[in-house]
């Protein structure tokens, strides 16, 4: 591991203390979850921007009208999406040292993934990512998240690697798993030949969620190569930086055995885990034989969780990244 991920700052905030948080700009993706709306109404911010993801299927008249709304389309590149937002009239004149907070709770996963890179490309130096735990998911282990079909599995723009063709190489897929077995299946099937390793959130966001996620994982087990014979790897579901560290350590170990390894990461678990995979990639994997792939679903449920637990705040030190690698 070349980066000490334990040094990145993270803190937690109880629901009653949210009103004490103050930012210049707050960005959040609109859906009907209590944890998204409670944070939106509690946190103080001078500028507020709702993101409207087409995947939630809101009509114009269902969207909140009081604030700026930035809409995204299914299948649109995430980097382009963020670039359009950061170049929009609301944000283009804003100082790049602004106190910017992005609530990732309701964001689509590929947008969470692309967020730190997009911030870096637009020369933001710092930002806070917020994530509110649910008390539980509606339907428990049967909760439905992606409700539309998976349209395609593809590499996420900005997270495409440079892979090797050696005759001896073997692909490795690290599946950041959560509750959505349809997404897990789609990813596993798209890399059928890869050695597939499942990253499970442990400790989970709530104690019962670990068991529930394993039950969901089992539904995809026939699509996951050698599922029963291989141990999972674990990282806390609530901590992107530790997740990044766990992935880094594991990949370093795998590459010490086979340097020709092509690695695919697929974050289909909690948004914090997605952020962790993004963080690892940007810290260590740009222009290596590592890609992030994602199963793009047509639509998602607007409300999947119950209640709101703690809100986690992650300081994103964007100025660490060397974006010259991309240019």
């Amino acid at each position: 591991m070349t980066v000490d991920y334990s040094l990145f700052r993270r803190r937690v905030c109880a629901p009653d203390d949210l009103a004490g948080l103050k930012f210049d700009v707050l960005i959040s993706a609109y859906n009907e979850s209590e944890r998204v709306n409670k944070l939106w109404t509690s946190v103080q911010a001078d500028v507020r921007i709702w993101i409207n993801h087409e995947e939630y299927g809101f009509d114009d008249n269902e969207l909140p009208s009081a604030h700026h709304i930035h809409s995204g389309l299914v299948g649109e590149g995430e980097i382009q999406f963020w670039s359009d937002l950061f170049s929009s009239s609301v944000l283009s004149e804003v100082s790049r040292d602004v106190r910017l907070a992005i609530d990732i709770t309701g964001l689509m996963r590929p947008h969470v993934l692309a967020l730190p890179l997009a911030l870096a490309l637009h020369r933001f130096s710092n930002a806070c990512a917020l994530y509110s735990d649910p008390s539980g998911y509606s339907g428990g282990s049967g909760a439905v998240f992606s409700k539309g079909p998976v349209l395609r599995v593809s590499a996420v723009n900005g997270f495409e690697g440079i892979h090797d063709t050696s005759t001896e190489n073997r692909d490795v897929l690290i599946l950041g798993a959560g509750y959505d077995d349809e997404l897990i299946t789609a990813v596993a099937e798209s890399k059928r030949a890869a050695e597939q390793i499942v990253l499970v959130g442990l400790p989970s966001l709530q104690p019962h969620m670990y068991q529930e996620s394993l039950l969901r994982l089992h539904r995809a087990s026939e699509s996951i190569n050698n599922y029963s014979r291989r141990d999972h790897i674990y990282a806390p579901a609530s901590d992107p930086f530790t997740t990044a560290g766990v992935i880094s350590e594991h990949i370093t170990h795998l590459r010490s055995i086979n340097s020709d390894l092509n690695v695919y990461l697929s974050p289909v678990g909690p948004k914090t885990q997605v952020l962790g995979i993004s963080w690892y990639y940007l810290c260590e994997a740009v222009n290596t034989s590592t890609s992030v792939i994602f199963p793009y679903a047509e639509s998602y449920e607007r409300e999947t969780s119950k209640g709101i637990g703690r809100t986690r705040i992650f300081d994103l030190e964007i100025d660490l990244f060397r974006i010259d690698d991309y240019l």
Binding site: G77, P149, R152, A155, T167, R192, Y326
Partner: protein
Amino acid sequence: METSISPIWKDILTMSQNPFEITKAVDYTDNEIIDTFVDYPTGGYSTFAAPASPVAKFLVGGKGGGRTHLMRYYSYSLRKSQLERYIDAVKRDKYIGVYFRCSGLNASRFSGKRISDDAWTTAFNFYMDVWLTEYLLNTLADMSAHDCIWNAKQQTAFVRAALEPLNAAEDVLSGKSALSDELSIESFRAGLAAFRKRMDRSINNAAINGTLDVQILSNPGVLLFSTTSAAHQELIGLQDVLFTFLIDEFENLDVTQQIYINTLIREKDRSTSFMIGSRQWGVRTQKTFSAGEENKRGSEYEWVELEQKYRAAKDSYSEFCIKLTTARLAQAGFGDLGPDRLKKLFAKLPETAGDRFGDTAALAVLGSAEHISRPHLRTFHKGILRWSDNAALADNMIEIVSRPRSPISEKLALLRIYQQWSSSMTIDEAAARTIAEEVDALRDGHGSRALVTVLNLWKNDIIAQLYVENNRRPPYIGLDRFIDMSGYLPRSYLTTLKYIVQAALVRGQVLFSSEEPISVDAQSAGVLEASEWFVRDAKPTGRLGQDCSLAITRLGTLFNRVRYSEKPPEVGVVAFTTDLQGIGEEVLDVISVCKSHGLLIEIPSGRKARNQGSILRKFQLHPMIAPKFALPIGRRGELKLNSDEINAVFDPSISEEQYATLVRRRIAPLTLPFGSEPSVMSKPSQGGLF
């Protein structure tokens, strides 16, 4: 015994003991591929899929047909180590199998990013030339390093000849050193890889910097074919060797990307061949970039459907499956079991001497409950009462058919009575008595030939009904049935065995012991789990996948309702015929995708001209799906579905309510009282047996 156990514990309990745990070739190492490879009986795979053939082949079929196993078996990395010198293995085989998977290309990178489609097509074509050539050079470099057979002069000549058609490309691609004029396969490989990685970077970053800056050095195919041709000319030992590119997972390429491969197939020279592995639906086009020409089957390529080859020789397929099983068991330390011993390791339904009807098993299903409360007798009684309100008639009829020691006799008699009731629209005590007596005679060994035929035809459905009426799932047992169920997909067969073994293990059974065959319960439970897996696994992704899933559920439910009606119109209905008249494009798409993904099988013999020349097409629900809906594995009868019924099943915009109404209408003539009006024999109810 029904066992309730968490699926997670099932995995933990059974994973290390299950010889069928691995069902996919991708899970095997190269050595395991060799160890578990079973060649196809009657001539071997090379009779229809020879890798040393100069004619390109599309090896297509359903998921789990064995393509990847076969293509990996043909690959250089497996073949090379069979002889001391790799070149000798290649010369023996007369080909070098350069294997790669299209999923490794991450082909979705070559689109979008606000770059024009034309620019992407040009970039992809040259990128693929470089990619394929790099794979070829990896192989040649490996051979060169291991065998040390090509000297510096030969290698330099090879690299120069390969790059000669690409003007001024030598400096860019050959990896040559400033210190020497000598070139080598390894330097060429490294130079090309470095060039390809620069392309990768530009392609990947196009989304960020808005430009696609790749250097195109030649037209499609030029680099690849000049390299194979140069290897033929300059590298000793390869003159009579074919370079066969084994391109697996072709379905991962989009139409334009497939056109590139088709163009290579069309324009290849004699030193090169292609074997393309793809799911049936994954071959999207036969177009080429060669003046818009399309490749023609039988001319530019051969089309090999593995399932069709298996289907054409059913016995050979069975033999193949048995060999797969015995090879796995031998590998797992269960010794060398012959086919006969193997089949005995799976329990049958209980039998007693002289039990020609299967009553022993039927009585076991019915348990110790009072015979008069048997569900089929209660249904009969209620049906008569509902139709006639005549309790005495109902009681008499029960007395006529009732055979406490032979439930199958009762069921057979009832089937005949229902058939008669349905056609005559009335119920006749005397006729019922005659039927019951004929059934008795048959049970005693001297029934009419006609009734023997009826019993043989209907026995499986009757037994299945008995199970379902008593809230049990019908049994699916026996190795031959599992083979039939696989629908000529070996992976489906192995997956069925995997789940059966898993079910046996969690029931605490000893595996593959002649003293304790795998129980009927474990076999049936495993089959059901395999069936559910197949439906999940076979359905495509995307909107059509959901539509197919709904259609298959509706079709299976319709067949189920027919099979478990009082008077099914035909034996073992798992197929339907349709003239497809009046069916919209969207519905036809769903049927077509169900077929291409193996959820439905089209029966070629189903085409018959009727109704002024209209063509009937016949489709069977895949046998792997049948157990999920408690249907028979084998196809016998079929339903003719009209356009409304086809739409109700295959049109996702039809509501569940509309579908249910249509099913009720279709089933009404098959269920008591078959649409008949009350008989003149009706009398007021006088109480009765039930």
